[in-house]
Amino acid sequence: MPAAEIEALIRAALPDAEIRIDDLAGDGDHYRAYVTSGAFAGKSRVQQHKLVYDALGGRMGGELHALQLVTAIPT
């Protein structure tokens, strides 16, 4: 799954998000995503990650196995 597609899905759900996606192995299959969004304010880490997983619409754990996720609130 191309990084641009992951980014587009996240942005569709979290329009304000600042997103950076690193392709860890250079194989288009192992990614780390950094997502910063105001939508995370007041939410636990689990809830923040769930917002991103929801944006990915069920691909997480299936089509997308290796996505590390780091979430943050804008400062």
Binding site: R45, V46, H49, K50, Y53, M60, G61, G62, A66, Q68
Partner: protein, 108 residues
């Protein structure tokens, strides 16, 4: 409640710290599970591990139990804490050690 839910509920309530993972602590079958084990070992905590690859019912059931799509999953005192990314963030912030100390009293 389905059988899988019932079984998972029993496991997480019987043990203070439970890691649902792929493989075993000695032979993890996935990099994320391996990382989760390493974090718990660094915390110096005893934990129960469940190899989901040996149990399809739990492998599927654990995802709906916590509404979380991936494995590994860490539970402390019956509560879902997170996957390996959250474990790492909490460990680096010292929060996981604190949580273990507060809830279980066994972290260094």
């Amino acid at each position: 409640m389905s059988d899988a839910n019932e079984r998972i509920s029993q496991i997480v309530n019987q043990h203070d710290v439970v890691l649902f993972m792929k493989g075993t602590p000695l032979f993890p079958q996935c990099g994320f599970s391996s990382r989760a084990v390493a974090i718990l070992e660094h915390c110096g905590t005893d934990f129960e591990s469940v190899d989901v690859l040996q149990d399809m019912e739990i492998r599927q059931g654990i995802k709906s139990f916590s509404d979380w799509p991936t494995i590994p999953q860490l539970y402390i005192k019956g509560e879902f804490v997170g996957g390996s990314d959250i474990m790492m963030e909490m460990y680096e912030a010292g929060e996981l050690q604190q949580l273990l100390a507060d809830k279980v009293g066994s972290a260094n």
